[in-house]
């Protein structure tokens, strides 16, 4: 259920603006990889190229190759919709569908892809909510609106929704930045459990979080405002945090800038 991502010489553009320059990076299966770096360094942009969400923005395009266990996601004839079924995503702000109940939110990915069997759906909803550590809190009100939950519960609902379609990879774009510390802890525990079955990539502004949850860390930086972001270095998290090769990484991690 988990796959390896290989990005080779990826350049990302928003129209004429060169946002990310020449990133080559391997994400190992069944690990948590954290992307860290100052604002505007392109880590979220790069994350969004891993499931072809980047091109949803008009004028945005990508050069280079991203392969998932050897299959090029950017080859001609690849359907971005099919890619996103395999590489799921959780966003910065919890975004449950307001027109749907808790049950329907979790079932939405399957339902909108044509699954109609009620038994299959309710089994998937229960399994996903359990995996997202939300089942006990909502099992008696699955018919109520997802918007009625607290922020942390909504974000776990969104994680349950993302894993209900059983993706190979789960991308998380600052999943805790809108949450309080207790909800953050719940999500971090969840990430630790998720990596047993998924490849997880998480963007975070919180260095402690990167150190707590990730096995590998990639540090992104940009030379100056308006210049493209670049990958400075990537490696095992303990190594990046204890003994980084690059001066910029050390400066960022020790809080000297950023």
């Amino acid at each position: 259920m988990a796959k390896r991502i290989d990005a080779r010489n990826v350049d990302i553009y928003y129209g004429a603006f060169h946002a990310v320059q020449d990133v080559s990076l391997t994400v190992e299966p069944r690990t948590v990889t954290a992307f860290i770096g100052p604002s505007g360094c392109g880590k979220s942009t790069f994350l969004r190229t891993l499931n072809r969400m980047h091109e949803v923005i008009p004028g945005a395009y990508v050069k280079g190759s991203v392969t998932l266990d050897g299959t090029d996601l950017y080859a001609a004839g690849v359907d971005p919709v099919a890619v996103r079924r395999v590489v799921g995503m959780v966003f910065q702000r919890p975004n449950p569908f307001p027109s749907m109940s808790i049950f329907d939110n979790v079932a939405s990915g399957l339902r909108l892809n044509g699954v109609k069997n009620k038994g299959v759906l309710s089994e998937a909803v229960e399994r996903s909510l359990m995996a997202a550590n939300l089942w006990n809190e909502v099992k008696d009100r699955l018919g109520r609106a997802g918007m009625g939950l607290s922020g942390g519960q909504q974000q776990r609902l969104c994680i349950a929704r993302a894993i209900a379609v059983e993706p190979q990879v789960l991308l998380m774009d600052e999943p805790c930045s809108a949450l309080d510390p207790i909800s953050t802890l719940a999500i971090e525990d969840l990430i630790n459990e998720l990596k047993e079955s998924y490849t997880v990539v998480i963007v975070t502004h919180n260095m402690q979080q990167a150190a707590r949850v990730s096995d590998r860390t990639a540090f992104f930086n940009l030379a100056a405002q308006g210049k493209p972001g670049r990958l400075i270095e990537a490696g095992p998290t303990d190594l990046i945090f204890s003994n980084p090769t690059e001066k910029a990484t050390e400066d960022y991690i020790t809080g000297r800038f950023g």
Binding site: N51, M53, V56, P58, V81, A82, V83, R84, R85, V86, G88, M89, F91, R93, N95, F97, P98, S99, M100, S101, S108, G109, L112, N113, R144, A145, M147, G148, C158, R161, A162, V165
Partner: protein, 312 residues
């Protein structure tokens, strides 16, 4: 004011200088007076604006309620009646108004909703979207009599067809379409992009995202816009006067050249002398029109409330 720059309170003049004691006294007399005058002005303006509205409503209700509360009003037509004879009802006109409105909605709602989907979901920010928006803005300013003349020229003069309720509906489509398109467009714009992205990230194609995520989220607002548009065109009179003849009997056929309707029923009874039975029927027709429009508004609210999920 002191020259100190250490705190906000010390230099802004609102809470006095750092040396003088804090003061929490009530505002001075002149400020209390000004506040009172401004409040009084706002209250008086609101009342003045409400007077004509309440007056109209009261006149119509007091003069029309007696007939509207009888069952024959809703079940009989005006066939064979003169202003001097008692009896009859508005059934023929209610049928006509609802039928003309329904035909209009059947054409205008799909066009308006699909047009708005094109503008917001598929062509946002493009030149063609701006051109369409501009055209719709112009269209929404067209007086109803101009729309009626346009349809008269097209359907009757050029195509050589006769006057009919369908021709009225077409003229009303020109008036309703911009309302539906505009309100749907605004509602779709209110749906946050994060919901579209959430759907894409689940591997849902764009058309399904629009249909199953965006549309249900905006459904309450869209249906309100449709009902308001319908309520607006049901009271239009100019297309009815130009494009169809008023019939006092019951007619269900939208292609026939005569059709009753509430606005033309009111128009037909406008110079009946007070005291005659026809005079009361004219007011009752006005009240019936108000009731139908109000019911449409209530239905719109009911729909948006009924489609909302319980949170707790």
């Amino acid at each position: 004011m002191t020259s100190s720059s250490t705190g906000v309170a010390s230099g802004n003049g609102l809470s006095g200088s750092a040396d003088t004691p804090l003061s929490f006294r009530k505002p001075s007399g002149s400020r209390t007076l000004k506040n009172g005058l401004a409040t009084a002005y706002a209250v008086v303006a609101t009342i003045l604006a409400l007077i004509p509205l309440v007056w109209v409503l009261w006149t119509v209700v007091s003069k029309g309620a007696r007939l509207v509360l009888t069952s024959s009003w809703w079940l009989e037509s005006q066939r064979g009646l003169t202003p001097r004879r008692e009896g009859g009802g508005a059934y023929h006109a209610i049928v006509g108004t609802l039928e003309i409105g329904l035909v209009c909605a059947v054409v205008a709602v799909p066009l308006g909703v699909l047009g708005a989907i094109f503008l917001v979901e598929y062509a946002r920010g493009t030149k063609s979207a701006r051109a369409v928006s501009f055209t719709v803005d112009i269209l929404s300013g067209i007086p109803s009599i101009v729309a009626a003349l346009f349809v008269y020229a097209l359907v009757i003069t050029i195509l050589g067809l006769g006057r009919s309720a369908i021709a009225v509906s077409l003229a009303l489509v020109l008036l309703m379409l911009p309302v539906v398109l505009r309100s749907t467009e605004e509602m779709l714009k209110l749906v946050p992009d994060s919901l579209r992205e959430a759907s894409y990230a689940l591997g849902v194609p764009k058309w399904k995202t629009v249909l199953r995520v965006v549309m249900p989220t905006a459904f309450g607002g869209i249906s309100t816009g449709v009902m308001l548009g319908l309520a607006r065109v049901m009271g239009e009179t100019a297309p009815l006067l130009i494009l169809v003849s008023y019939a006092m009997g019951i007619n269900f056929s939208p292609t026939s050249s005569t059709m009753g309707s509430l606005p033309t029923m009111i128009n037909a009874g406008r110079d009946v002398a007070p005291g005659l039975p026809g005079y009361d029927r004219t007011w009752a027709a006005a009240l019936t029109l108000i009731i139908i429009v109000m019911l449409l508004n209530l239905v719109a609210r009911g729909i948006s409330r009924a489609t909302k999920l319980k949170e707790k």
